[in-house]
Point group: C2
Chain length 230, copies 2
């Protein structure tokens, strides 16, 4: 019935901001566009909501798979961008974000993409459309999230050291965090972190302890929230 309407109308798209953490850097999955507009430019994976049977969530999952090969990624809708000039075709875009462990996924250039690559968030290429603004808002969202919910399970390897967790928080919050206070704070969330026995042959006084998250406690804290102040 959409076609019967006589007033001008925007198109609807989705865009996916996929964050990963690797080599102590926060990264972002981008693709190079094979088509106009912005042909040859880097952009977020996404596409038009144009199937009668797919809502925005399903479209985001489908487009991500279609364009980068990534599937089974849990994405959260975070904001809808509607400035008239964001796209020459007048497109309102529903934006999603996800946190993933880069090593768990193999990204490859799919449909309408020349190339797919992980970019360090602090060293991004020029971007198509208003994707810079979308990424900035996603970063704000991630910063807010990390203050109220545990974040890390999705970004770190299954077993990680306290310095790695510390670095992740410093990177996302873009501020220095006192190492000792951080450690104390993290260990204060009862049962959140499991400490593993030192691997055989490891030299206890030189090898940092390995931790993993207790999934149940992690999910509980994700649902109830906390206030991470340091």
């Amino acid at each position: 019935m959409a076609k019967q309407e006589t007033f001008p109308q925007p198109l609807v798209s989705v865009d996916c901001v996929i964050f990963g953490f690797d080599s102590n850097k926060l990264k972002l999955l981008l693709l190079r566009r094979a088509n106009e507009p912005f042909k040859g430019e880097w952009a977020l994976p996404g596409g038009f909501v144009n199937k009668h049977d797919a809502d925005a969530d399903a479209t985001a999952r489908f487009k991500l798979k279609d364009k980068t090969g990534l599937e089974n990624v849990y994405m959260e809708q975070f904001y809808t961008f509607s400035a008239r000039k964001r796209d020459p075709r007048w497109v309102v875009s529903i934006a999603y974000f996800a946190l993933i462990r880069i090593a768990d996924y193999i990204a490859k250039a799919g449909k309408n993409a020349i190339d797919t690559m992980w970019w360090s968030v602090d060293d991004l290429p020029p971007l198509a459309f208003d994707h810079k603004a979308i990424i900035e808002r996603a970063l704000l969202q991630l910063k807010r999230k990390i203050r109220y919910q545990p974040v890390g399970f999705e970004l770190l390897p299954e077993r990680f050291t306290m310095p790695e967790l510390h670095k992740l928080y410093e990177t996302v919050l873009q501020q220095d965090l006192d190492r000792r206070n951080f450690r104390k704070k993290m260990l204060s969330y009862k049962d959140l972190l499991l400490k593993h026995a030192v691997p055989r042959g490891g030299a206890p006084h030189r090898t940092p302890d390995l931790y993993s998250f207790d999934r149940r406690k992690y999910d509980e804290l994700s649902a109830s929230g906390f206030n991470f102040e340091i």
Copy 2:
């Protein structure tokens, strides 16, 4: 250029969830639809994004004024609803919410509305479209907000009593809160609440103290967030 696209496409609309607090009840502004679909049913104020020069925020402000007479209301975008069956015309709706003092505004039925009315949130009429689901999500958003940011300035009269503030929190969180702990917690946010001198002629031991928010501290806590646990 939208018309040149050949694939099926949804329309885009906005919907406004306007909360107010009155007689110790959380209320919601609804209007009765004058047109199909859902003619005669109650619905959230809103309308189509159909002007080239108006993004979703501007459309929400315009539609709210057009349909209810309310203006200068600060609204926050909180979620976009896109289920295929939410509207027979295939409409993706960007939803906004706002908190207002009912007494500060006069709502009247505007364009395409038979009637406009404040409804108690726990006693809503049957609603058009998926507006029940939109309202439920807005209530969740408000619950989350009240745990991380001060909420009240927008909903209470300028001067209010501690029992009134307590009732507001109980109503939004839908749970009983211990009166003494609540008071203690609220007063623990340094400089957030200003206590006023008892009005002349008042009997100090029988009249509850009057408070107002310190706007600067309120804004500061709104920006930085806290964790309200009681």
